[in-house]
Symmetry: C2
Subunit: 437 residues, 2 copies
């Protein structure tokens, strides 16, 4: 039995035992790092408390702790997680269990040799966790879809396909950036309802979207499908995603083929990928469809998915203006929601994506779409929170925001809690908005 | 002065001098090949008549013919064109000129040594020319957009943004395949107007779309734009694209975020990439907008683009049914159109794509969207040709087609002709439709 998630476990890395850490020994998310200020080749690490363990270095230093894991350890010498992802779930599960064992407070032998493979988090630069071959963004919150639809199409808010088709579109892989990469306000075409002609200039309604992403592990060959029963065998883990959006550009460009320049200027992801194994204690039933909603079509329906296809993740969006930063004030929470609000589970998204034989590859990123809930405080973007700017957000210092201003920092945080289990977190996906060039 | 396109030139590869060849010495398109039936590492080659010249082997065999071209020649030892593309236009122009000189009928010295770097086309397997990081599909034919719009949105055929915004969306990079890779009919959700509920099954309206693609050469950094004046410096060359589409799936899924599973099961590209230099004699004025249409916004407008931003390419779609194949009949032309019908030039598409700072990378593929013209015989997909199946196509043998059937082969061919210039061609983008799995 895998005891990696046992809440009683502690680590000899004492910062991992602090109640507030995102990275206790029960988490061990994977990321790619290098020592800050160097041009060292990036390597795979796991987060433990306020430290990063260099996995390949750890296995070299303490080979007895990693016996039989040569493939997985070898994949950790790469500059992205793709090679590790490509191995599929089994080897990653075993590697994580070995890491937990090596980092366990009871493992004095490992402690004595693994110190040299630990680097303080403050001394590392985190890189994009994977080379993303294709990035797909879904639209899986029915609350978000209904809110946005009622603003963009008042007569026709939720379209007839929504409750049958997990709606998604292809996003841009090249502009996916890791947390703390500044985002430049995009220039674009926009045409307001009262404008005679479109104009070109910096977006006047820059927004964030709070999302969860799943990185694909083992892929499928072109022409093959992924049954829902095995969808999770193709998932490596989850991260936080900010799908930046220029709402004025989006409103003008999106018909009939969907969002394009309104979104492809940047997508921010958190550096740490939390494995499905670490999320095991936080599984939850799929969304309970209201009376009258159709059931999922058979290919999107299994008893197991209904019973535990969702993951309970609390998501919080925080905003820090430049004025707040000048005063030394931290980012202020502006909304908090939960990932169990999603109409479709991540498994359903994976299965739907491949139902036509579309090949998913290791490192591909599938984002959930904006995670919004039924109440106003649970809305995952400013478009919804301020109802297209009509009801500006009032921050505690008195500043207001209809949309983002230059100098704002947006920080998305996520964590999981369950009775009797150790809390784990995702860290943050954070970025500063720079003025248009 | 670059005399590579001089129509008087001939090659010592005599098949390149045949009037009907797509690959005279004036073309020299780049592709990636290996000897058929081997697992040899793929290499970069150029097409010359019915032969392929292994560029790196040629330069090793006859170094004096390739002096000063070490970088470009080195890039040709790779298994994709990406490294060559990344060098930008200048080195590729010089390499092509050197190849033309080496293959010139007057160059007896090169002929005597380069034979060993030539492989008959029938003995090679062509590979995908580039690793496509991101694939974007545009919608640049106003005739196509109007036809499709009038079928999907009878009241609202051409949307108000069309003449201002080069409409595009992100496609799927993973499922781009090279010509002659069979395409499996996709399964999907579809719901006809008379259906009570959606059903799942093999698409009943599989279609092709005849398009032209541009491969990006030198990229731009995230946050940087590409002014129209320099857009062509970022283009490596053009190829033929078949953007396969499942129309029933598309009609049901595409709102509000655009095509997804209706298109991402396969996209076929031709193996040979024709450089912008080879297309130089076939440049043409940009689309002449009808009286009353708005001019392009300033960022999409230069005198040079208006004067010569288009490329005159004749495009022909051919269909071969399994019955025709059994009788030994060749694929039969079903439509013929020209790339000058496009409302936006490829330069405008590149500039628009990067106007928000979106980073294009070497090897990225931008497809034009279906190339349709004003007359019925110029429609680039069956959806238009058969008006959604209402007016089936009648083939010369008496068979009819509303949409594609299993066993059909679709072949897209393209070529360029101009008075006094040597005709050049693209070869074909071709594939057999296999039954759904």
């Amino acid at each position: 039995m895998d005891t990696t998630n046992d809440p009683a476990r502690t680590s000899w890395v004492t910062s991992a035992n602090a109640p507030e850490t995102d990275f206790p020994i029960q988490n061990l998310p994977f990321g790619v790092f290098r020592r800050a200020g160097t041009q060292d080749a990036p390597r795979v690490g796991v987060a433990i408390g306020d430290m990063v363990l260099d996995v390949h270095a750890a296995a070299t230093t303490a080979p007895t702790q990693f016996e039989g894991l040569a493939l997985a350890v070898g994949a950790c010498a790469h500059a992205s997680l793709n090679a590790l992802m490509a191995l599929g779930r089994g080897p990653v599960t075993l590697l994580r269990a070995a890491l937990a064992s090596a980092l366990d407070a009871k493992n004095g032998e490992a402690q004595s040799v693994l110190q040299q493979a630990l680097i303080p988090m403050r001394d590392v630069e985190m890189m994009l966790p994977a080379q993303v071959g294709d990035y797909t963004d879904f639209y899986a919150s029915v609350y978000h879809a209904t809110n946005v639809g009622s603003m963009f199409r008042p007569d026709n808010a939720l379209l007839p396909n929504y409750k049958h088709v997990p709606i998604g579109y292809h996003g841009r892989a090249s502009s996916i950036v890791v947390s703390d990469t500044p985002v430049v306000r995009p220039v674009g075409q926009r045409k307001g309802p009262n404008d005679v002609e479109p104009t070109v200039g910096p977006s006047r309604s820059l927004d964030y979207e709070c999302e969860v992403g799943v990185f694909i592990g083992a892929g499928n060959a072109l022409g093959d499908t992924i049954p829902l029963q095995s969808a999770e065998q193709h998932m490596f883990g989850l991260c936080l995603v900010n799908d930046w959006s220029a709402r004025d550009v989006q409103a003008w460009e999106y018909q009939p083929l969907g969002p394009f320049l309104a979104k492809n200027f940047a997508t921010t992801v958190s550096p740490w990928v939390v494995t499905l194994d670490a999320l095991e204690p936080f599984r939850a039933p799929a969304f309970v469809r209201p009376e009258g909603d159709p059931p999922p079509l058979p290919y999107l329906l299994t008893a197991e998915n209904e019973a535990r296809g969702a993951v309970s993740i609390t998501l919080e969006v925080r905003l820090q203006t430049s004025a707040m930063r000048a005063l030394g004030e931290k980012a202020e929470p502006v909304s908090r929601t939960t990932f169990t609000h999603m109409y479709w589970t991540m498994g359903q998204l994976v299965t739907h994506h491949a139902m036509n034989g579309c090949n998913l590859r290791p490192g591909d990123l599938l984002a959930s779409g904006t995670v919004s809930g039924p109440s106003k405080g649970e809305r995952g973007c400013l478009l919804e929170l301020t109802w297209r700017g009509v009801e500006p957000l009032v921050l505690s210092g008195g500043e207001t925001r209809a949309f983002l201003e230059d100098g704002d920092v947006v920080e998305i945080a996520g964590w999981c809690e369950a009775p009797g289990m150790r809390r784990i977190g995702f860290g943050v996906a954070r970025a500063l908005v720079l003025p248009a060039r």
